[in-house]
């Protein structure tokens, strides 16, 4: 995959991060991502991210569970093997409410968690890069993606002017699977492009 360049800056306060995000977007830079140690309400809106539709998916999984439970129990008790239980009707919907409810919740919860993992592309043994290890501790790390029009030095200076600390240019192979857990063992060397000398 292609190697991409990122300008990475860290903020130590979300109150500095918010105006910075707005100004960076207004200046026309492309924000690759902002990594934060905890959810910051409103940051997704500030970055211009769309709302997630995970809740809609949860609803669809839920009604799938409802339909599965009602359909299956009806089939079993009215068609496949009708049991005479104390002379009560074979199709006894009120008695099925508990199981129907439980399966609704089960399908919805399991489905949503799996969808969450799929959308975020997370799974055991997946390694990812988030530029700065302290972004899971106390720093708010903003990564700008350098496009063909971006002047790195300007971008670095711009981030610094917005209050970012420790701003640097990093080269990464693009792709969600790229990553490492620590800086000591780099999986991918950031190779400098060397001009041919011959």
């Amino acid at each position: 995959m292609a190697i991409k360049k990122f300008v990475v800056g860290s903020f130590n306060d979300e109150a500095v991060l918010f105006p910075a995000v707005k100004k960076v977007r207004r200046a026309g830079y492309k924000i690759h991502d902002v990594y934060t140690p905890f959810p910051i309400h409103g940051l997704d809106k500030a970055m211009g991210l769309k709302d997630t539709s995970l809740d809609t998916a949860g609803f669809i999984y839920g009604i799938t569970g409802t339909a599965t439970a009602v359909g299956f129990i009806s089939w079993v008790f009215t068609y496949d093997w009708p049991l005479n239980i104390g002379g009560k009707p074979h199709f006894s919907l009120p008695a099925w409410i508990p199981i129907t409810f439980e399966l609704t919740v089960l399908f919805s919860a399991v489905g949503m968690v799996l969808t969450f993992c799929y959308l975020c592309q997370i799974a055991p043994f997946v390694k990812k890069d988030h530029f700065n290890l302290r972004s899971t501790d106390d720093l708010f790390v903003m990564a700008l993606e350098c496009t063909s029009k971006t002047n790195e030095n300007d971008a670095v200076a711009f981030l610094q002017s917005l209050g970012a600390m420790d701003v640097k240019v990093e080269r990464k192979e693009a792709g969600w699977w790229l990553g490492r857990y620590d800086h000591e063992t780099k999986m991918f060397e950031a190779k400098e492009e060397v001009a041919a000398t011959v």
């Binding site: 990594y35 140690p37 997704d44 809106k45 079993v76 009560k88 969450f116 975020c120 501790d137």
Partner: protein
């Protein structure tokens, strides 16, 4: 927008001391990253010893059958189903704290939710043991599941409260586990990024599943947490409702009451909070987390205990009144002769229940008592003893005297193997809890950081001066515009 961050001085801080984000990480990760202490080893080994005793007891039961227990003709459910309902009830407080209080936006839950959710999972694991091993031929336990079989296929009875239980408990366990673990991911990622040792990097790397803290991921994470909380809230109420149906849908005098579902749910939350107190009063001391699990947290939970204890008390009295007012002689006999009468074989258990669950929690009307760690710890044990006796009273005193005097069974007392099984689940519970407290952060790191600037002591002090400023002035200085 910005003003939502402000919290009045009237509310006590939830995080004590001069903390910043990094200090929070340090404080909460320290017990995980340090070598296990001597106290940890002692506690862990005692738990494993109990667990071993439980395994031996269960092995005897499997080899020789349920006859190893002292169950008899009418008392078919003795200690084991008492213990089952007791453990399931304990689990409920964890879900209440993590789900219902999330929906109610209660900031104090962040200090205790992770440990309480873990407690839920371990308690449900313990509870599940009892019906499973009570089956006798446990290798046929899978018969309860509706799977295509060569016997017809004969399906389980979907109209039976016992099958509802199978679905309720297994769903409850699965959903609680998913909720707990998805919430743990960011904290495991923090441990992964702090790790120095190779095995730690690998362990937390695999466990955190590649969490990065990307804004988009947080957005989905919050939606997931909110919807799972919304699902867990009716789920937790349904679970104990369905457990109470095991009794309430029967025609046994003493069980045949419509008040059971709400009464069981209130009792479950009551006993669950008592267990949370037992665990956290010790955890905060041993792991030195008094700054995060403060006296305020303890006091709030004691308020929940006095509230739910009083609901349970009302339920006992209502049940008693209706048994008399209903004019069913069998029902009234079950209450008057089997329970109220102190001279009856099990009369003592009814009065232990009343004393522990209804009278003793009233001490928490006094602020001084609510804020005393010693009283809290003592009461948490008393409440759990009382709630165990509640289930014992319901189960045993309702069935030990059947309709005909000839079926009035001999006195039911457990054998050593029944007691051993119960002790064994304590071993299982505490073994799991000790491992959890050693390898996972017992406090939700990300959530604490989220409320730090609103409820942290040093930040609240800074807010003190702005309380006198005008709203516009305050927003100008301290707010930041969240608008896109």
């Amino acid at each position: 927008m910005a003003l939502l961050r402000y919290e009045s001085q009237v509310r006590a801080p939830l995080i004590v001391g001069d903390k910043d984000y990094h200090q929070v990480t340090e404080d909460i990760c320290r017990p995980v990253e340090a070598a296990p202490t001597r106290a940890w080893w002692i506690g862990f080994l005692i738990s494993v010893a109990f667990l071993t005793f439980g395994i031996v007891s269960v092995t005897f039961e499997v080899i020789y059958g349920v006859g190893q227990w002292n169950l008899n003709k009418t008392v078919g459910w003795g200690w084991d189903i008492t213990n089952f309902v007791w453990w399931i009830g304990i689990g409920h407080a964890g879900t209440l704290i993590s789900a219902i209080l999330l929906l109610f936006r209660q900031g104090w839950r962040t200090g205790v939710n992770r440990a309480a959710e873990a407690m839920t999972i371990f308690a449900v694991m313990c509870a599940g043991q009892f019906p499973i091993w009570h089956m006798g031929r446990v290798w046929m336990a899978f018969f309860v599941l509706p799977y295509p079989n060569t016997r017809g296929p004969v399906w389980p009875n979907f109209n039976s409260a016992l099958l509802w239980d199978v679905f309720a408990i297994s769903t409850y366990f699965t959903v609680s586990l998913l909720f707990w673990y998805s919430g743990l991911l960011p904290d495991l990622a923090t441990l992964r990024d702090r790790a120095r040792l190779k095995w730690r990097k690998m362990f937390y790397g695999v466990a955190s599943m590649g969490w990065t803290g990307s804004t988009k991921h947080w957005q989905r994470f919050e939606t997931l947490a909110l919807v799972l909380a919304g699902l867990s809230t009716p789920l937790v109420l349904s679970v104990h409702t369905i457990v109470s149906f095991d009794f309430a849908t029967s025609v046994v005098p003493g069980w045949h009451t419509t008040i059971f579902p709400p009464y069981f749910v209130a009792g479950a939350i009551f006993s669950g909070f008592a267990m949370v107190q037992t665990l956290l009063v010790i955890t905060r001391k041993v792991l030195n987390l008094q700054d995060y699990i403060t006296i305020e947290h303890i006091e709030v939970m004691n308020k929940v205990i006095v509230l739910t204890g009083s609901i349970v008390g009302i339920a006992y009295l209502t049940e008693l009144f209706v048994a008399w007012y209903g004019a069913n002689p069998y029902e009234w006999y079950a209450f008057k002769e089997n329970r109220l009468n102190l001279n009856s074989p099990y009369g003592w258990s009814y009065w232990i229940m009343m004393g522990c669950n209804v009278l003793s929690p009233q001490i928490f009307w006094f602020r001084k008592m609510r804020r005393s760690l010693l009283v809290t710890f003592f009461m948490s044990i008393i409440v759990n003893i009382g709630m165990w006796f509640e289930r014992f009273v319901i189960i045993v005193t309702s069935v030990y005297r059947d309709y005909l005097p000839s079926a009035h069974s001999v006195y039911y007392a457990p054998t050593i193997w029944e007691v051993g099984f119960y002790m064994g689940t304590f071993g299982l519970f505490f073994t799991c809890y000790f491992l959890f407290a050693k390898f996972f952060p017992v406090i939700a790191l990300a959530e604490i950081k989220h409320i730090l600037k609103r409820s942290g002591e040093n930040y609240k002090k800074k807010m003190d001066e702005v309380e006198h400023e005008s709203v516009e002035e305050f927003a100008e200085v301290h707010g930041h515009d969240h608008g896109a």
